[in-house]
Symmetry: none
Subunit: 206 residues, 4 copies
DNA sequence: TATGAATGAGTTTTCATTCAT
DNA sequence: TATGAATGAAAACTCATTCAT
């Protein structure tokens, strides 16, 4: 990539990061383009060199941020779960790591807002070989255990949605229960969904 | 209540209903006070006779609307589940009815947005004897089966959150899976959470 | 008309007049809405209570201003020509008066810009009984002399266009000839067009 | 001329042509410098190497474009009228050719906008020997017939203005009458102006 | 000469809220 | 109470022009 292109991308990135911080703190609708450019240290017009529109920025920001986090989150979770002896404990450790990650990255949740699962769906299509490999390293483990791809997709969707929703409220409002309060129950619920998914897969095969 | 008070309440109600319809269709931030008063057929200034503020309206609207729906939802679900022979099938029918209700009231979800469970928490405090009685008619059934109140609250919270989150996305975006696709898995997941909750309750008692 | 409506119309009128003065002095594209509201002594938002848009104002302004002037112009010209003994001198005095009027109302020309004739065409459709009566009092005189309506329309169009174009440049740029320099020739030209029109009318009749 | 100079002129020309096309399609005020440079395939900064300013470009463009067309127009008209037996038919054929030319070059009219006659005035001062010779080949014909230079200038001005104005509206708006509808009347009118001009010339001489 | 990223003043437009009637 | 005209701060977006490379 030419040096110029590189620089442009970096600046675009800087704008997105500034916006991200503001969205997180003040919410999207209460953040003006003006706030963003001030935070990014650029002129107002410059913003429109990089984004067609405020909504163009929002779109790109969500795509980027959630993709990034998803990747990182899955990487960490997969790493920690790697040595698990069986699929059940693999899943348990994986989910536990997932929740840890969310706690660490609270801010992300306030921007992306309960939409992590939408992101999950687009994850394998990021044209990012890295991400794809990662995704498969996890799903393969389940496919070996008798899941069909279809039932796996559904299961993953439900589990993420559930964890994301519960974590979002628990973290951002600390109401009505803290996340640690709910964690065991949440993981149990997720596991039983996963078990159910496996069963569904097997039935179809038989 | 004096007739005057009555009339005031009715008008307030009309404003809320108009706002509700608009919020549902266009989202809160894209709905101007002007749109609301036009829809309600009142003058702009009148709005401020009934609400301190736009955000005052929003607050009251969410409180009212979600409370109302929650009540109606629980009533219907409890009714349908009433004749269930055991607690397990009671729960299953109850949840099924819950989902049916959400499908019917799609619009509500877009306004209240994945926050039904918050509402659940405030439900018993609506100073509405009716609502309270209703709530207890359901929880009592579980308390009899060995739940502690604490574990019941948590369980209910997680289950609602889960159903609400999944249903919200499934209904509003029909992506990536339709709700009917997910329903069986969702109910199974919820049931296993409930079973876990019961177990947790019993353990503590022992 | 209710008093309120009256007042609103008056304010609208005041905005149009302020805009008119600015357009005349600085041209439409160099006049900001801000300039207009300052000149009219109103707040910026008020402008949008009366006009959808800057272009809405422009449209209404041109329609109003050119219609008004046209009416006034024709009234004055018809008055002065009234006592003319024959159609030829009627036309001559009429045109002379027309040019006088334009000289007096130079500013109008800079706004309406060489489009008076377009206005002429719409003149009889202003739903203004007054204007219509006036228009007919002039055309009748020509119809009596053997003009067909069709040839009269064409002739009037060409004559206005010609006078308007010449007068516009002569007045606004004083270049390359002053209007007084050109006046006799212009009137002669117009008269010969008129004579030609009359002939055309008669031929068709014969 | 050095090759460098040549190249500069060519690029300048390319910019003007691009601007011309845009002005024609979208009007001057709705065409941004950015649009022009994109169309010309140059960088934004380059524009300011060739023109001081946007208005500098406009000035040069109008001068160039109208001069060019005027020259071409007169050449064609003079050619077609060359064999005319008398001055009257010379004028008639000349004007007819003029109108034909305008119909062919509609686009020019939308840019230069009813200002062809202004251009006529500057025509003999183009420091273009070619143009000057051409101009004299036409005017000489009239001077021989008793016109004074002064009356000829006025007459030419009025005739051009008249034709230009009528043709502009007729062509660009096709309203309220098509040009072909008006052509005979227009030429008759012009001829009678010319005749009047000749008479005026003679009177003064006598 | 040529480039195109950066600038920021300037423009249009919106909208929650006030206030005289 | 009810009205709706008026307000003006604030938002989004544009564009001629400059300047470092």
């Amino acid at each position: 990539m030419p040096v110029d292109q590189q620089k442009k991308l970096e600046k675009k990135r800087r704008i997105i990061e500034s916006a991200y911080a503001l969205f997180r703190d003040k919410n999207i609708y209460n953040t003006a383009v003006d706030d963003i450019v001030k935070a990014a240290g650029i002129a107002r017009g410059t913003f429109y060199l990089y984004f067609k529109d405020k909504s163009d920025l929002i779109e790109q920001l969500i795509f980027l941020k959630s993709g990034e986090s998803m990747k990182e989150m899955i990487r960490q979770a997969a790493e920690r779960a790697a040595k698990a002896p069986d699929i059940e404990s693999y899943a348990r450790v994986f989910l536990d790591a997932l929740i840890d990650f969310m706690v660490e990255r609270k801010e992300l949740l306030t921007v992306v807002n309960k939409n992590m699962s939408a992101c999950l769906t687009s994850f394998p299509h990021f044209n990012d070989d890295d991400a794809e490999a990662l995704y498969h390293s996890v799903t393969d483990r389940f496919l070996e255990e008798g899941y069909t791809q279809a039932s796996l997709d559904r299961t993953a969707y439900i589990v993420f949605e559930m964890i994301d929703a519960v974590a979002y409220d628990a973290i951002t409002y600390k109401k009505p229960f803290g996340l640690e309060d709910l964690r065991p129950m949440l993981i149990d619920a997720a596991l039983s969904v996963i078990r159910g998914g496996a069963a569904a897969g097997r039935e179809k095969t038989e």
